[in-house]
């Protein structure tokens, strides 16, 4: 790695503001790294290097603007987010040529803060997947070991960060799609509270579950990006109108973990967890205790029902959300249809990949007359019981900690034949999406068997991002730096 791209976002931003690095130099460093690493890693879809360089040159001419928290910083955006003038495919053939004429609110906010978009990140089609193998375009490889998956669905965002192609990426998390690739790629990934970040311009998968969040190399970097993208938006009625704390200032307020109680749910630390993940996460908890944290056992007894609940709700919402793809106003239109229903059917059948079709069919089934109460309504009731479970657990602790995933990154192709086995990988991440609370994955070690990164997941009550980021920041600073792949 050239020295520039080894910097954290916070470091490069200081250099940019001080005029020691120009925006053009920062963009060029990233574009060079992309050229070098991308043929093997395949983290990116549309690239916008030329426009990025042009914009950087214009910004350099005006000089650094210290009031902009991301001035001159090259970033990558998951392809599920609308970017004005840049092709946005959502990893699907059905949107192969779709060029949005507006920015997602989170993207507009990054631009307003001075960030420079250099590319779009690969993803599982419509964010449906845990490995990025469901992308209609390419399978992204894990920069730590090219034979392994980067996780998903924000696998391109995780891999681009681990490969040093940019300083921050946006991901989205419907059932773990930020935390899982963060864990597999050894970077920091934050899923904010539902309603913390506007979803306007995010191509919807499960509207009551989706959240946009940062993926970066350090906790402070994620705090910096979250500061920029958080907040109420009149264009998203589910974005919550409450004050956004200054997450960066808050980081400085805590230098140890004294006075903090961390709950350890037995359901997350027992059966099904690989030995290497268990060991690395337990070491991190030991470190947290040395730093002053108190740990207590907590119960999340609904955990074993989370996957079934999640997939009913997510697929139901997906079947409804994806009905907009009809081949009429945008997206793929079949060439050989001669009447309207035939046009819908052929366009959708040609445009959607297998996993998307599976989820639409199950979603349609669980919402159909006669099955609605047995599946969708039942799942929604259990969802409330799950939230009660979490609220009760948080009565005795400030944060909850557990592994982000039962294993480290597994080999490409290992789980593709059995969708249900793939869904089971989400066991530790999906509960938070159902209950709407924030969580993050922090790299805490390298698995001794696979030599791959291990992520510890921290979870907080709704709008408790501050405490979560503070604790992660303290822990990160006391652990060795695991985020750099050895190969790059």
């Amino acid at each position: 790695m050239s020295s520039l791209i080894e910097k954290s976002l916070t470091e490069i931003h200081s250099l940019l503001i001080a005029g020691e690095v120009t925006a053009v130099e920062a963009v060029k460093a990233c574009l060079d790294q992309i050229e070098k690493t991308e043929p093997e890693i395949k983290a990116l879809l549309a690239k916008d290097g030329e426009n990025a360089l042009k914009l950087a040159a214009e910004m350099d001419k005006l000089g650094p603007d210290a009031s902009k928290p991301l001035w001159g910083v090259p970033v990558v955006i998951k392809d599920v987010l609308a970017t004005k003038g840049i092709t946005t495919t959502c990893g699907s053939k059905i949107l192969e040529n779709f060029v949005p004429f507006y920015d997602a609110t989170s993207v507009a906010k990054l631009k307003e803060a001075g960030a420079i978009i250099i590319a779009k990140a690969n993803m599982d089609e419509f964010a449906m997947g845990s490995t990025t193998e469901n992308s209609a375009y390419q399978t992204t490889c894990n920069p730590h070991d090219l034979s392994r998956v980067p996780g998903g669905s924000s696998g391109g965002s995780g891999a681009t960060i681990a490969a040093g192609q940019c300083f921050a990426a946006l991901g989205t998390d419907t059932g773990g799609s930020i935390r899982l690739p963060a864990s597999f790629c050894g970077c920091v990934g934050v899923k904010p509270t539902y309603g913390r970040v506007s979803r306007y311009g995010m191509i919807a998968y499960g509207s009551s579950l989706d959240q946009i969040g940062p993926m970066t190399r350090t906790v402070e970097d994620s705090a910096r990006v979250l500061n920029v993208i958080a907040g109420h938006d009149k264009r998203d009625s589910t974005s919550v109108d409450c004050e956004v704390p200054n997450y960066i200032e808050a980081l400085a307020e805590r230098t140890d973990l004294s006075g903090l109680t961390i709950g350890l749910p037995e359901e997350y630390w027992g059966e099904g967890l690989s030995e290497e993940v268990s060991e690395a996460c337990k070491n991190a908890i030991k470190k947290a205790e040395e730093l002053g944290a108190k740990t207590v056992p907590v119960k999340l007894s609904m955990t074993e029902y989370a996957i079934a609940t999640y997939y009913i709700i997510a697929m139901a919402e997906a079947s409804s959300n994806l009905s907009r793809f009809d081949g009429i106003r945008y997206g793929h239109r079949s060439k050989d249809a001669d009447e309207l229903i035939d046009l819908y059917t052929k366009s959708r059948t040609e445009g959607f990949g297998d996993e998307v079709q599976r989820r639409i069919i199950i979603g349609t089934y669980v919402l159909s007359a006669g099955y609605y109460d047995a599946y969708y309504c039942k799942a929604a009731q259990i969802r409330r019981l799950m939230r009660n479970d979490f609220e009760k657990a948080f009565e005795s602790c400030d944060l909850i900690a557990g592994p982000a995933c039962p294993t480290t990154a597994f080999p490409v192709g290992e789980l593709t034949a059995d969708p249900l086995q793939m869904y089971l990988m989400d066991i530790f991440t999906i509960s938070l999406n159902l209950v709407g609370m924030p969580g993050m994955s922090l790299p805490v070690g390298i698995g001794k068997d696979t030599n791959m990164p291990v992520g510890l997941q921290l979870m907080a009550p709704a709008f408790g991002e501050t405490t979560m980021l503070q604790a992660a920041n303290v822990l990160e600073k006391s652990l060795p730096d695991f985020s750099k792949p050895q190969q790059i």
């Binding site: 009625s237 106003r329 046009l343 079709q357 249900l420």
Partner: protein
């Protein structure tokens, strides 16, 4: 995981409701996979949910209303630019009636 909930014909029927057309091979493949998934979902019947209010979203506030004023944000040209077929004024679709 033994009980079959969806025959291949039923899979095809649900698919057609969602405007999807499956090949025979895919019908077979999906029927097996979907039955596995749906059987797994039956796990939820272990829980008594009598009198539990369903939770459809983590944000359960009342409907947000905005002032009923017209705002022009985008042009016709911008919106039609992504259309697979248009005459410059309208989206063009196959003859319906």
């Amino acid at each position: 995981m033994s009980d079959v909930k969806l025959s291949t014909d039923e899979v095809a029927k649900v698919a057609s409701l969602a405007r999807l057309d499956l090949s025979d091979k895919k019908k077979e493949l999906f029927a097996g996979q979907l039955n596995n998934i749906l059987s797994y979902m039956d796990k939820l019947n272990e829980i008594d949910t009598k009198d539990v209010e369903p939770m459809f979203s983590p944000v359960e506030h009342t409907t947000v209303l905005r002032k009923d004023v017209i705002i022009k944000e985008h042009t016709r040209d911008e919106i039609l630019a992504n259309a697979p077929d248009s005459d410059g004024q309208y989206f063009v679709v196959p003859r319906i009636v």
